[in-house]
Amino acid sequence: MITADSRSLFWGGCILYTVGFIYALAEVIRSRRYPRSVLLSILGAGFVMQTAALYWRGYSMNRCPLGNPFEFLQFMTWSTMLLYLVVGPAFRMSLLGFFTSGLAAGVGLVSLLVVSWDRLGPRGFMGGDPLVQTHASTALFSYGVFGLLALTSAMYLIQNFGLKRKRHRGMFPMLPSVLQLDQMSGRLLLAGVSVLSFSLLIGALTNSGSSDMAKLIKLGLTTAVWAAYFLLLLLRWVNRLVSTRFAWTSILLFLIALGSLWPVDRSRLAAAPVPSAELDEESNE
């Protein structure tokens, strides 16, 4: 079965992310810096597997693999990992791999274990319109960027806590400096807002074929997420929201953005239920 095969690949990717996380965790517990190349290799292998899974899923369903919450989450963690693999070696931020692998493994495991999230979607969903698919995938990609922003914000909060409370053992000395983390968070926020703006622009030019109500809910929620992040960017720009308050807000907004995917999915499902014949056809493959 095509779906089962892609799930095996998703499992493979997730297991590799988990192995990477456990390996890094073991080193962190022993207050040792793990060799970056080892973790990058493990996560790189997981990423290749997850990419193959997403490709396989998209190919078999003849659409972008963004048809259900499971696929949302997998695509989002894939985006976060892609960004880490690009950003991590360039900026050499220690422990970013540890946190990224933790997020990818955690979200990946939950999404795989809750089987009902991975319900069959209709073939050729989104009407096969490349613009709609670009809109959806870039929107989810921006969520991946915001995911990495939430991670750097969490790292900032931990380092800040350690410095304020005079903690200097364990993982604290291994984390990047608060200044580096803050600068990285700023860059990620700008990147995320830019990608989401682009996505909304593309979305505005298309007609996804969904009912008016589903479209309205999706548009409303996505715009709200965009507006919230844009406001965060503005407040940071004018130095009204900085330091720990900025970091907490980044994490909170990411959780809200993540939660907003479910109402979008529900409304879309209600507006365009999967025809039973199509479901039967999928199951028989």
């Binding site: 304020k164 200097h168 400096s177 200044l179 803050d182 940071r236 900085v242």
Partner: protein, 354 residues
């Protein structure tokens, strides 16, 4: 020679066995060191030798044959340096074979240093080894012992906590600054006052690449003197608080009886710093900075007690690793000594003099 058994002997004296004033008489400086090497190597029965000469120790490693080897080396050194042999016996130590190997392993790893786990000693051992190689007094035996010693030191540094955490106030402050700013080369430092600990702290920062340093003091001449010493500039004392926002790190170590920085002043400075954090180091007693300043977001305040507590904790952590580290190095030394047993040339074709 009556006895042709191989021997590795170590004769030495260090801060652990001798007072400073006596150790001063042992130091062999400059060109005399080469002369000492020549004299030791010329001794009948000495095949290889190496002198480790640091501010805290003088050790002579000799390889040769015969049970009189150590007495031979000690006599030659005492004559060369005009040292009373009885004093050397009293303030020195002598180790043979495996124990000598274990000793150089421990020394290289910093286990025998005044500041346990310090790394400077490894560089000094390497320098001594290189010098001895240049003097052509190192053969297969000492080469192997010292190379294994460097590996042992590397192992101790990377696999144990013996060198983890700084054990001086200045270096602890530097580590904290790195946790706040990362690369310190672009950090701007303000030094208020000229206390001794503050002076050492700013020197530690300079050693990590800090280039922009301003010094202020109630006495302009004192500020100028310190600025010249550390490569900074002196700025007027009056109103220095107003320029606080221009600096990343401020080190206060004045003798002022009241606090010089309060929460409002620091909060005002941080607002002007465009998201850049501020690291305040208060080394003064009584304190120069109001404790409430620590509550200002993006400001990190560390006092003398905070830094001293970290130093003490790190020192205790290093000491707790000492026993385990010594045990492993002893085992490694035993293994190396067993191997040396196999590779040592036979007395008849060893190439030894005499």
């Amino acid at each position: 020679m009556s006895d042709r058994r191989k021997a590795l002997v170590l004769l030495g004296s260090s801060h652990r066995t001798a007072p400073l004033e006596w150790r001063e008489g042992l130091a062999v400086e400059g060109p005399r060191l080469a002369v000492l090497y020549r004299e030791l190597h010329a001794l009948d029965g000495v095949a290889e030798c190496l002198v480790l000469n640091t501010c805290n120790r003088l050790e002579i490693y000799g390889v040769g044959f015969g049970d009189r080897l150590s007495r031979l080396i000690a006599g030659a050194f005492c004559r060369f340096q005009n040292v009373d042999p009885e004093s050397l016996e009293r303030f020195g130590y002598r180790k043979m074979g495996e124990q000598a190997v274990a000793h150089i392993f421990a020394v290289s790893a910093g286990l025998d240093s005044q500041m346990i786990g310090e790394t400077e000693i490894l560089g000094q051992v390497k320098d001594s080894y290189r010098f001895a190689v240049d003097q052509k007094t190192v053969g297969r035996f000492l080469h192997r012992v010292f190379q294994k010693g460097f590996q042992a030191a590397k192992w101790a540094r990377s696999s144990t906590a013996i060198g983890r955490g700084q054990v001086s106030i200045g270096n602890v402050a530097v580590d904290l600054a790195a946790r706040i700013f990362g690369d310190l080369r672009r950090s701007r430092v303000l030094v208020v006052g000229s206390g001794e600990v503050g002076r050492k702290t700013v020197k530690a920062l300079v050693s990590r690449g800090v280039k922009v340093i301003s010094v202020t003091n109630r006495t302009a001449a004192a500020a100028k003197q310190l600025a010249d010493e550390i490569g900074g500039v002196a700025i007027p004392y009056d109103g220095w608080q107003g320029s606080l926002s221009e600096f990343d790190i401020a080190i206060c170590s004045t003798a002022a009886p009241q606090t010089l920085l309060d929460r409002e002043t620091v909060a005002g400075a941080i607002r002007m710093r465009l998201r850049r954090p501020l690291f305040l180091i208060d080394l003064a007693v009584p304190r120069d900075i109001d404790a409430e300043v620590a509550e200002v977001p993006n400001v990190f305040l560390y006092g003398l007690d905070d830094l001293a507590a970290i130093v003490e904790e790190n020192r205790c952590a290093r000491e707790s690793e000492l026993v385990r580290c010594r045990k492993v190095l002893q085992d490694r030394a035993a293994a190396v000594w067993r191997r040396l047993d196999l590779i040592i040339p036979c007395p008849d074709n060893s190439g030894l003099k005499g």
